[in-house]
């Protein structure tokens, strides 16, 4: 039984391109949880098109993702944003009469964001995780689309020696928002600046989140501000390679 457990890892385009090490860390954690990792051929989940109002385009992209993922019982996504797209939006993306609607729902019901998966399937002991003071940034999609709040914190407590420090307005968006920060850079920057100020004020050594989009945004802004605070994905923080 245990050796047949399989999990499909859908790493998201951003991780695939910008931070492949997050994908590798996720894979190791899933393996430590006793699963065999499969990486199906993958493109984009469709979120950029969906959020830009291109529903047809989003359907095209989603169909490809659904077809690639539907053979698997367990699908793990190391991103609240892409995970949220699949779990919360795939079920209503297609018209009820469309045969893809039920396939979309079936896939949606099997998708878990990485920390949700790890909370259910705790990894065996491994390399010590990230140490020091960390500010945990809930990505908006993790928190509000998927209702993830306690899982990453519990994992950080049990798998690392890091100290979770509170910071002001931690439920507020960091201003990334996918194409939002491309189309409205001034507004996005003000939001990001406020977020970074709150993180700096917390005295944290690193900011940890489950979404690479937020991390590139916050980390990039912190770097420009000359702050030494590192932006670390939860997968790397837990796997102990940060």
């Amino acid at each position: 039984m245990t050796d047949t457990k399989e999990a499909a890892l859908f790493v998201t385009c951003l991780i695939d391109l910008m931070r492949p090490e997050v994908g590798m860390a996720s894979a190791r954690l899933i393996e430590r949880a006793g699963f065999t990792v499969v990486v199906p051929r993958q493109g984009c989940c469709g979120q950029p098109n969906y959020n830009a109002g291109d529903r047809k385009g989003a359907q095209v992209l989603a169909r490809a993702a659904i077809a690639a993922l539907e053979p698997y019982e367990t699908i793990v996504v190391p991103s609240g944003s892409c995970g949220g797209m699949m779990v919360r939006h795939y079920p209503t993306l297609f018209d009820a009469a469309d045969p893809w609607a039920s396939r979309a729902k079936a896939v949606a019901s099997r998708v878990l964001e990485l920390t949700q998966f790890l909370a259910r399937h705790p990894p065996s002991a491994g390399a010590p995780g990230l140490a020091g003071k960390i500010a945990y940034h809930d990505s908006c999609s993790s928190l509000r689309d998927l209702g993830v709040h306690d899982e990453p914190r519990a994992l950080l407590r049990s798998m690392t020696k890091a100290e979770d420090v509170p910071f002001a307005e931690n439920e507020t968006c960091c201003g990334f928002g996918g194409l939002f920060c491309v189309k409205y850079p001034d507004v996005a920057d003000r939001i990001a600046a406020d977020k970074c100020a709150a993180i700096i004020a917390s005295g944290a050594d690193s900011v940890v989140s489950a979404d690479l989009g937020c991390l590139l945004n916050i980390g990039g802004r912190l770097a420009r501000m000359g702050s030494p605070i590192k932006a670390v994905h939860i997968a790397e923080a837990l796997a102990g390679d940060a």
Partner: protein, 470 residues
């Protein structure tokens, strides 16, 4: 008044330190108030569920409930008018004033009257309106529009208000200290008392229309609405048609979530209840008119954004919106701002290149939906506007092409691989060129890298690394 579009207005707001300071203070104030109210109301989530069900049902039954409202209000002695659009509503209002020879109007804060731009119209017909809500009074003196649906002058600092009073109240003793809030309130009160006594007509909005009794319910914290509606002999209420609920039970629930979500109070300080004009020796107006305003609402009710009509104008979505709290209300270019304004303004003004900015200028963080007392799925409604805008060809050609190309590349494995490979190469080169970090990108990446230094991608994509590991 302004030719700037949303981006221009937002940029202006971001560079206004007084505005930024005022917004930062207000943000904490309102959000903390709501959080405290939620914490001390153990059944708050249940209340929200009930309010949500009530408002959805009211919208579904709206035509029927409005007819019942009209019948009961008429039986109580009020006159009910139906206004298809803003021009209609304005004409009806001035018509009533003229028929009664009214030239001095007092007004309570009403977003419906802002929506139809009533004040300018009244003035052009020789009727002088005086706003009696403190915030509205201040912005009226300044010739501004409200920047928040429940706190119209939230964009101003105390000092700006003091300056405004000094400029407008010429009889104000220059030696008098009006730097504190209480002094400002006192100063306004003196002026407003004169206006209350002189007025021939009181104009209000309505927070709730109760169908079963034909009653208008109004809430305020300053007591000015009570006076506005009852001191003059003539009362005109202007209400969006979506304000109707069936019963007093329904109204009670709405009031309970409204104050808690708006200011964090358990109940607004004043709740004014008006059923028809005053009878016999009752205190109140002798004549009462109610103007029911459509102005795009029935169209909204028929489409995929009907849930917006459930809105009870509490302002919570504004107070918790990262975009609103960064740019303030005026950037939205209409009386309604924040997430609710971004849904309503294109419905009222039509979907254009500029109004399409409003639903697009959201990171879809979802906090508005999380705090909305009537659980309006605001991000989904904004997304529906984006879909409409996309279908109408409003996004820039660059954006539409970009999305089309992305779709084509991402669904073809070899093309996707090639894209990722070349993007990684390109970004790594840029990073090397710029000293180890990506500090400046052209085109779509320009805004993002204007204020960020991004570490370069790894040489091999995840999928390439994974294939290598096998």
């Amino acid at each position: 008044m302004t030719t700037l579009d949303f981006k221009g207005r937002a940029a202006k707001a971001l560079h206004d330190p007084q505005l930024t300071g005022a917004l930062a203070r207000a943000k904490g104030h309102f959000a903390l108030g709501r959080a405290a109210a939620k914490a001390r109301t153990p059944d708050f989530e249940m209340l929200r569920d009930r309010a949500t069900a009530i408002r959805r049902r009211s919208i579904a039954l709206m035509p029927d409930l409005l007819e019942r409202f009209e019948a009961r209000a008429t039986a109580a002695g009020a006159t009910v008018h139906w206004a298809a659009d803003a021009a209609d509503a304005r004409a009806i209002a001035t018509g009533i004033c003229k028929a009664h020879g009214a030239t001095r109007a007092i007004k309570s804060k009403s977003m419906a009257t802002e929506e139809i731009e009533l004040n300018a119209h009244l003035l052009s017909h020789g009727i002088t309106p005086v706003e009696t809500d403190l915030g509205e009074y201040i912005i009226q003196l300044r010739g501004e529009t409200p920047s928040h649906i429940i706190a119209p002058a939230v964009h101003l600092t105390k000092d700006q208000v003091a300056e405004t009073f000094r400029a407008a109240h010429t009889d104000l003793d220059p030696a008098r200290d009006i730097s504190e809030r209480q002094a400002l309130v006192k100063e306004a009160r003196v002026k407003l008392r004169e206006a209350f006594l002189a007025a021939d007509v009181g104009i209000t909005g309505a927070n709730i229309l109760v169908a079963e009794t034909g009653t208008i319910v109004l809430v305020s914290n300053e007591g000015n609405i009570d006076l506005t509606a009852s001191a003059p002999r003539l009362h005109i209420a202007i209400a969006g048609i979506e304000k109707v609920v069936e019963s007093w039970d329904d109204a009670g629930i709405v009031l309970r979530v409204l104050a808690r979500s708006a200011t964090g109070q358990d109940m607004s300080s004043y709740v004014t209840v008006l059923t028809g004009p005053a009878q016999g020796d009752e205190v109140g107006p002798r004549t009462s008119h109610i103007i029911l305003l459509d102005n795009g609402r029935s169209t909204l009710a028929a489409g995929n954004k009907a849930e917006m009509l459930a809105c009870i104008r509490c302002g919570a979505c504004l107070n918790h919106c990262p975009v609103y709290t960064a740019v303030g209300g005026h950037a939205y270019g209409g009386p309604y701002s924040g997430p609710m304004g971004a849904v309503l303004t294109p419905a009222i003004d039509g979907l254009t290149k500029d109004t399409a900015n409003l639903p697009n200028a959201s990171s879809f963080c979802g906090r508005c939906e999380a705090v909305c007392p009537v659980r309006i799925p605001l991000p989904m409604l904004l997304r529906h506007w984006r879909e409409d805008a996309y279908a109408a060809g409003l996004p820039t050609r660059g954006e539409r092409w970009g999305l089309g190309i992305w779709r084509a590349l991402s669904t073809r494995p070899w093309a996707y691989r090639l894209t990722q490979w070349s993007a990684a190469r390109g970004l790594r080169f840029v990073s090397w060129w710029q000293g180890g970090r990506i500090k400046r990108l052209p085109f779509a990446g320009r805004g993002f890298t204007a204020t960020r230094d991004i570490a370069p991608p790894a040489a091999k994509s995840f999928q390439a690394q994974w294939r290598g590991r096998r």
